[in-house]
Symmetry: C2
Subunit: 420 residues, 2 copies
C-alpha cells in the first residue's frame, strides 16, 4: 500500500487557505474571482513542478496530467473545485483538488508505476455562488449524457448568460472571457479519453464523525425533490382587521409547516432529510397581514417509495384551506438517486480496508460534479469527516490526518482502477 504525505498535505491546506482568506478562519473564493485565480496559479505551479502537463478547456476547467506507461490508455481523473460559497470554509471543494494534486505528487515522488495517464482536475464554478446554478461546468460538459430535464437547465448558452448575483450585470461568459485559464473546447473531459473519475469531498454532515469512521465509501447521491409551497391570504391592515376575519398567509404557512413535520416524522425514517430553507413573504410589512407566503421544501432519500410517501404529505396541502388561506404546491425540480460505479466503489472500500482506516458505506446527501460525470463514465466519491458536521461555513474543519488518509485511499483506489 502506498501512502500520501501528511507534511505535503498540510502545506497545501495552509497555502490554499490564504487565497480568499476572509480574516476569520474561512474564505470567500467565488469562481473566476482574483482569489480563485490565485488558487489556480498555485495548482499550476505545483503541478508543473512535478512535470505534469497543464490543459484548460473552454469553461476554464483545468487538467494536470502525468503520463502513464501504456500508449493510448485512457486517463483516470481526480476532480473537484476551488470555488467556495460566501464565507465558506477551507475544505469544501478545494480538498478534493488538493487530494488530486497530492496523489500526483506521491506518484511522482515515489515513482509509482501506472499504465494510465493520471489527471488532477479543477471544475469551474461548482458552487454557483456568484453565477448560478451550482455544478455549472459539469452540467455543460456532461450535458449530452444527462436526463433531458436536467440537461435542458445546463445548456451552454444559458450558463454563459448567467448574471452575477452581486452586480446583476457581469455574466459568467464575461468572467470566462476575462480569465487567463479559458482554453479549448477539445480539452473537455470526455468519455473517449477518460476511463474513470474520482472525487474526494468532505462529508458535510456528522455521520462519519458520530460513527468514529475516517473514510466514507460513497455509494450514491440521494434522490430528491424540491417543491414550492404557497399560501394565499388577504393583505389587510394590522390595526383595523378583526382576528376572526383575517386571511393571514404566514399563520397558515406556520401551521402547515408544523403539520408537515408531524406527518413526515410519523413515517419513522431517521435517514430521511427534509428542509424548508427559503421563505418569501408578501408584502412583508410589519403593519400589514401577509397575503402570500412562499416557502421551499427539499426532501432527500435514496428510496423512491419513501420520497413518494413524503410527497403525498406535501401534496395534501395543495388546495387545502388553513386559516382561510388556500394552499398551493408546485414542483420546482426533482432527481432520481444516482448510483456510483459498483467496481470503483469497491476499489475505494478495499483501499480503505487495506490501509486500516475505519470506514463505512454512505450516501451523499449533497450534489457534486461527480453525479453529472457518472452519467458519462464510471465515477465514484470518497468522503472524509466534517467536524461537527458543519460545511458551507467558516467552522468547516477536517484534520490534516483525515485529509491525508483520504488522499491515501484515493491513491490506492486509483491504482486499482489503473490495473483493470
Amino acid at each position: 500500500m502506498y501512502k500520501c504525505s501528511l507534511d505535503r498535505m498540510s502545506d497545501k491546506i495552509n497555502t490554499f487557505a490564504k487565497y480568499g482568506d476572509a480574516g476569520h478562519g474561512g474564505i470567500t473564493r467565488y469562481s473566476l474571482s482574483p482569489e480563485a485565480h490565485q488558487a489556480r496559479d498555485e495548482f499550476v505551479k505545483r503541478m508543473k513542478a512535478i512535470g505534469a502537463t497543464i490543459e484548460t478547456d473552454d469553461l476554464a476547467n483545468m487538467y494536470a496530467t502525468l503520463p502513464g506507461t501504456e500508449p493510448n490508455a485512457k486517463r483516470i481523473v481526480m476532480a473537484s473545485h476551488v470555488d467556495s460559497v460566501r464565507n465558506g470554509g477551507n475544505y469544501d471543494g478545494i480538498l478534493g483538488v488538493m487530494v488530486g494534486m497530492e496523489v500526483l505528487e506521491t506518484v511522482a515522488a515515489e515513482n509509482i508505476p501506472h499504465k494510465h495517464p493520471l489527471t488532477a482536475m479543477i471544475w469551474t464554478n461548482e458552487e454557483g455562488s456568484l453565477y448560478p446554478p451550482a455544478m455549472m461546468s459539469s452540467g455543460v460538459v456532461c450535458n449530452d449524457y444527462l436526463p433531458e430535464a436536467i440537461g435542458k437547465k445546463f445548456k451552454l448558452e444559458n450558463m454563459l448568460a448567467s448574471k452575477s448575483v452581486l452586480d446583476k450585470t457581469t455574466t459568467f461568459g464575461d468572467a470566462l472571457n476575462a480569465s487567463p485559464y479559458k482554453g479549448d473546447k477539445k480539452n473537455r473531459l470526455n468519455a473517449d479519453e477518460y476511463m474513470a473519475m474520482f472525487e474526494l469531498h468532505i462529508e458535510q454532515g456528522p455521520i462519519l464523525e458520530d460513527a468514529g469512521n475516517e473514510i466514507g465509501v460513497v455509494t450514491c447521491v440521494l434522490g430528491m425533490f424540491n417543491y414550492r409551497i404557497r399560501f394565499y391570504g388577504q393583505s389587510d391592515h394590522a390595526g383595523t382587521t378583526p382576528m376572526h376575519k383575517r386571511q393571514d398567509a404566514l399563520f397558515a404557512a406556520a401551521k402547515a409547516l408544523c403539520y408537515m413535520h408531524e406527518e413526515i416524522d410519523k413515517l419513522g425514517r431517521p435517514e430521511l432529510v427534509y428542509t424548508t430553507g427559503e421563505i418569501v413573504c408578501h408584502p412583508c410589512v410589519h403593519t400589514v397581514i401577509p397575503d402570500l407566503i412562499d416557502f421551499s421544501i427539499d426532501v432527500r432519500h435514496e428510496d423512491p417509495a419513501v420520497r413518494q410517501q413524503v410527497l403525498d404529505i406535501v401534496k395534501s396541502l395543495d388546495g387545502k384551506v388553513i386559516e382561510r388561506c388556500r394552499g398551493e404546491v408546485e414542483l420546482a425540480w426533482q432527481r432520481d438517486t444516482v448510483y456510483f460505479d459498483k467496481e470503483l466503489v469497491e476499489f475505494v472500500k478495499q483501499s480503505a480496508d487495506e490501509l486500516g482506516f475505519k470506514n463505512q458505506y454512505i450516501p451523499s446527501g449533497a450534489g457534486h460534479d461527480a453525479q453529472f460525470a457518472s452519467y458519462m463514465m464510471p465515477t465514484t466519491m470518497i468522503f472524509v469527516p466534517s467536524k461537527d458536521g458543519h460545511s458551507h461555513c467558516e467552522p468547516e474543519f477536517t484534520t490534516p490526518e483525515e485529509c491525508t488518509a483520504g488522499a491515501s485511499v484515493m491513491l490506492n483506489a486509483v491504482l486499482k482502477a489503473d490495473k483493470k
Copy 2:
C-alpha cells in the same frame, strides 16, 4: 342642519382618482411625486375658485383658508393626505382632503356664517411609502408636543435625510426642494393660530360595515407595541444533516408563532388585534437550514392591562429554546392609547345623530396624523365604512353617499366647534 353635495363630492372622487391611476382601479401616488403634485394642483384650483387663500409651509403641507367673521379668531382645520401606498386605493387619505374641500365649498356656496377661519389642509407624506416613516410631517410639525421617544424619531434633520426606498439615493429633503409647494416654516400648523383639527378617514376595517353603520365616531387611536422575535439556529446543509441534530430556526419560529396564537387567543379578547407581518430568513437558500428567523409582532388594544398580558406571552419566548434554537425578543417601539378631545368627539356624535346617520363610537386601530396633532391641540376623527374592510389595496371602496355623509357630519361638527 347643513348638508354637503353628492354631485360635487362624486366629481372630486372621480377627478382625484385620475392622479396616479395605476390602470386597474387604484392608484400609486407617492408623496411629492408628479402624480401627487397633480392632486395638489387640483386642490389649489378648486380652493382658489371659492376664494380661499393658499399657504404652504417648509414641509410642503398645504392650507386653503376661508376667513371667518370674527377678527383674530383661531382657525379650525380639516386635514388629511393625498399620498398613497404603492397600488393603493382611491380613498385612503385623499377622502379626508376631499371632505375638507367639500366642507369649504358648501360653506362658500351656501354662505354659511362662521366666526372662525376654516382651513382645508394637506399633510405631506403621511404614508411614508417612498420616504419612511409614516406620518412624517405631523411628526415634525407637532414635534415639541410629542412624547420624547416619538419626538426623537421625527426630528426634522432625520426626516430630510430619509432616502427613497426605490432609488436609495434621493432624500425627502431633495424632493421637498424640488417641489413648487415648499413654503415658509411660519405657515406651519400651530397652537397659537389654530383651535382644533378634524380628520375624516376611511375605517380601513369591516366594523362599521358589519354593524350596518354609516359613521364612526372615533374616540382614540389604540395603544400598541411592536416587537421583533428572533430564533437563532445553525445553518447546515439540507442534504447531509440528520433531522435530530438540526437547529432549524424556521421550524422553531413556526412553532413559536403557533404557540403565541394559542396563548393569546386564550385571553378571550375579540377586540384585540395582533399581526406578524414581516419575516426575514437567513441565509434563505433552499438547500441550507435557516440559522436566523426574525419576525415582527404588532399588538394593538386600548387597555394597557390587556397589552401587558400579550406582552407577557411574547416575552416568554425570550431565551426559550425550541428545536434547539434560542429565542430572543426585542422591543421595536410602543405607544400609549391616544384619546381624542372629548368635546370634539361629542360634536361629531351629535352631528351624526342630528343628520340621522347610523353611527357608533369606534377606536382607530391605524395611526393617523390626527394622533400627533392631538398632542398640540383639540383633535378628533370621523370614520366612514370601508367595503369588506379593505384598505391599502386597489379594492378599497366607500360609496359616494357614504363619503358625502361623512362630509356632512364634518361640516356640522366644525360648525358646532365654531360656535364654542
